[in-house]
């Protein structure tokens, strides 16, 4: 089963994303801060990670960069989910190695479409 790691500090958005992804047939592991992402990703090694950018502990862009540089998680595609919509923010996300960038307000249906698209591109 395809495993997705979701990191989001907003409980309502986290629950919504988890619900939507589980409904789409994915196995979801959720955490609420940036520090927990790295530990969880190393132990679970998900097929994809969805990271909020503004989280306590570590921000999503830094976490994404760190996932990229770790040999154990470097292959995991990352989707950044954030309210930061400036060109410079999107640019920083892609530079950090994100595979996709979804801006809040977001459509849950679009999120699932992006997930399946990124997974398909990465051959999973």
């Amino acid at each position: 089963m395809t495993t997705i790691l979701v990191a989001e500090d907003d409980e309502d958005v986290r629950d919504l994303v988890v619900f939507k992804l589980e409904l789409a047939g994915y196995l979801v592991v959720a955490v609420d801060n940036g520090l927990a992402v790295l530990d969880t990703a190393r132990s679970v090694v998900p097929d994809l990670a969805i990271l909020d950018v503004m989280m306590p502990g570590r921000n999503g862009v830094d976490v994404c960069r760190e996932l990229r540089t770790d040999p154990a998680t470097g292959h995991v595609p990352v989707i950044l989910l954030t309210a930061r919509s400036q060109e410079v923010d999107v640019d920083a996300g892609f530079r950090a190695g994100a595979s996709d960038y979804l801006i809040k307000p977001f459509s849950p249906r679009e999120l699932v479409n992006r997930v399946s698209s990124v997974l398909a591109r990465s051959g999973r």
Partner: protein, 374 residues
């Protein structure tokens, strides 16, 4: 008799105490049960809320959420309001539908006219989040509310609803006794988007410079190339320095090369440094290498900002611009330093800044590992 009376009083006090204790115990029990029941109902309502926005096919969460009692809805309403701002598409439409069916929209519209300022502000925020187009006239009236928070909430709500019919009132709110911060008004106009263009163009010659600044700033961000002629006219003739600065910047953002001649004229002839500098930077944004000679000449402008802006604009024009800068640097021999040195300094600084920026890019893209590897 006295002893019997005393015994009666003691008995009565004891009975009252027993009844009081019993009342407290039973009351607490009832409250605890009620609290548990409410918490259970709130938890269930929250689960329904998540299912409502996440499940495109389910009908029952909507029906159930519409039917929950008022206490339960109150417990979940703040979360529902918070989600409104985080969602779009069908998920958001379903959420809005719950608010409408529960009568929240009608209540919020009524609350816009309440005597309590916090209540008016909350209502304005809510009708904005819910995108209630019918509330636009009431929100426009609130732009002149005596309470600042209400005016701010109404401005934001009008931006969220995005009705171009509110533009004239929004612009009028920039001035006067109860004025609203220009940044807030500009933000609301930006949210209205490209539909705002006709109304903004109609106001580009407003008597108030602050209004013209705001109009041109927003046009530069939302308008199509069709707005370039009106903005170019403002750059050429507006009496306000600030308006001309914004006009030059807006023309650079629009990127229409047909305004190159107007911008170059401003670089050459505008009496104000800031305007010439903004025009030079805007020329760089247009990306027309035909502007290289004019920008190279502007490196000798007596205004520091103008010469600096021209140097960075030349970098933006790519290799022809950089070549012009290198020629200026090379020509800066010590013997001729008095005449040419300031221009060469600007040229050298712009070339160096571009080199640093080029070196930074791979490091930023690769993160710490790439940085360490260098």
């Amino acid at each position: 008799v006295t002893a019997n009376l005393l015994a009666g009083v003691v008995y009565l006090v004891a009975a009252l105490m027993a009844v009081s204790v019993l009342t407290i115990v039973v009351g607490r029990g009832i409250r605890r049960m009620s609290s548990r029941r409410n918490a259970g109902a709130a938890g269930r309502a929250r689960a329904l809320l998540v299912a409502l926005v996440a499940d495109d096919d389910a009908r029952s969460p909507l029906v159930e959420l519409v039917a929950v009692d008022r206490t339960t809805w109150r417990s979940v309403e703040p979360k529902a309001i918070a989600l409104l701002g985080k969602l779009r598409g069908e998920a958001r439409a379903r959420l809005v539908s719950v608010f409408r069916r529960r009568g929240v929209v009608e209540r919020a519209v009524r609350d816009l006219a309440r005597p309590s300022a916090p209540r008016r502000a909350r209502a304005a925020e809510l009708v904005g989040l819910l995108g209630v187009a019918d509330a636009v006239p009431a929100l426009c009236r609130l732009l002149d509310d005596r309470d600042r928070q209400v005016r701010v909430a109404a401005t934001r709500a009008l931006g969220a609803i995005g009705d171009p019919g509110a533009i004239t009132t929004l612009l009028a709110s920039l001035t006067g006794r109860r004025s609203i911060a220009a940044q807030l008004v500009a933000d609301a106009l930006l949210r209205i988007g490209a539909d705002a263009q006709p109304a903004l163009l109609a106001t580009i010659k407003d008597a108030e410079p602050l209004v013209r600044v705001c109009v041109i700033e927003v046009l530069g961000l939302v308008a199509g190339p069709g707005a370039a002629t009106s903005i170019a006219r403002a750059l050429g003739s507006d009496p306000s320095d600030e308006v001309r600065v914004r006009a030059a910047t807006a023309l650079g953002r629009l990127g229409t090369r047909q305004v190159l001649a107007v911008l170059l004229r401003a670089v050459d002839t505008d009496p104000v440094d800031r305007v010439r500098a903004a025009s030079a930077v805007a020329v760089g944004e247009l990306g027309d290498t035909g502007a290289v000679p004019a920008l190279a000449a502007a490196l000798r402008d007596p205004g520091h900002r103008v010469a600096n802006g021209a140097a960075h604009a030349l970098v933006r024009l790519g290799e022809p611009g950089r070549a012009a800068l290198r020629r200026v640097v090379a020509a800066a021999s010590p013997e001729r330093a008095g005449e040419i040195e300031p221009a060469a300094r600007h040229a050298r600084e712009a070339l160096a800044a571009q080199e640093v920026s080029q070196r930074r890019e791979p490091v930023l893209a690769g993160g710490p590992a790439a940085a360490g590897g260098r």
